[in-house]
Symmetry: C2
DNA sequence: TCTTGACCTAAAGTTAGGTTTAGGTATTAC
DNA sequence: GTAATACCTAAACCTAACTTTAGGTCAAGA
């Protein structure tokens, strides 16, 4: 259903990611609760959170309304993280766009001579923008 | 300069990421070549490439013009990867937007009763959109 | 009956990408 | 002269997030 190996589900459970999971004579029963937990786990993992922090969140969920502020703050923080990650990826994309253009040119020319001496001002505008953007933060 | 630990630079070199690096009586000399390599390494790493694949790219760079097509294809593939990653992150963001709204409501209400019975149709439009978007791929 | 398959546990193993340590050389600062 | 630094290597260590293995229980089907 979720394309997650059984071993991973057991690992998650061992790590405390399903604090309230019910068992039927030893066998884990995944209810709508846990399905939902899996969605949140997936989301929080992709937002950069570690398992132990996801566990803490799952604990908050069983602790009730007193932990609403903590949970809200967590999601706000992760939203911020993802926004920053997207910005980094946009810079990465700029570099990749530039590199694709670069090697298209190199293939046409058969060598990198012309490119080696090219200044940003001589590049097509969109490529120059990509070049400049991708050479920002890591420079100097 | 790049805020990379010396140990990491040595590790990269050991992994073959600076194939043509020059040494002055045993000591590595980082020229403009290697500075540029570091930018590309950073970009390729963030695009999801592993060290051993970056090494392969660096090898191509010393092999000359015959590897232009391979290099171009690599950058095109990584561009694709990053685009897909951005889409995944947009879905994650939708979930986070929904969760932030959810807990803002829960804090106002003091409990989750109202929210528990709420159907997507009853949510504010932007939140409903976020909810629907974030519940897409992992569902059923 | 028996054997196939789904579930279980605890514990060991795996992988990537570094980091740390131990031991050594060479240059600079006082 | 000697002491603090910056560099070097090889090899051991580390962490997160799984995965694999070994060994066992139980129920259904041929």
């Amino acid at each position: 259903m979720f394309d997650i190996p059984v071993s991973t589900l057991r690992y998650y459970d061992k790590e405390g990611l399903f604090p309230g999971i019910h068992r039927d004579s030893g066998i884990r029963k995944f209810s709508e609760q846990e399905i939902d937990a899996l969605r949140v786990i997936d989301c929080l993992k992709k937002s950069g959170l570690e398992i132990k922090d996801i566990k803490r969140f799952m604990q908050w969920c069983v602790e009730g309304s007193s932990t609403y502020p903590a949970r809200l703050e967590l999601f706000r923080r992760q939203k911020q993280c993802v926004e920053e990650e997207m910005q980094r990826l946009q810079q990465v994309q700029a570099m990749l766009r530039f590199k694709c253009w670069y090697y298209e040119q190199a293939m046409q020319d058969g060598n990198e001579e012309r490119l080696r001496h090219m200044k940003p001002e001589e590049m097509p505008e969109d490529i120059r923008k990509a070049y400049v953007q991708s050479h920002l933060t890591l420079d100097e």
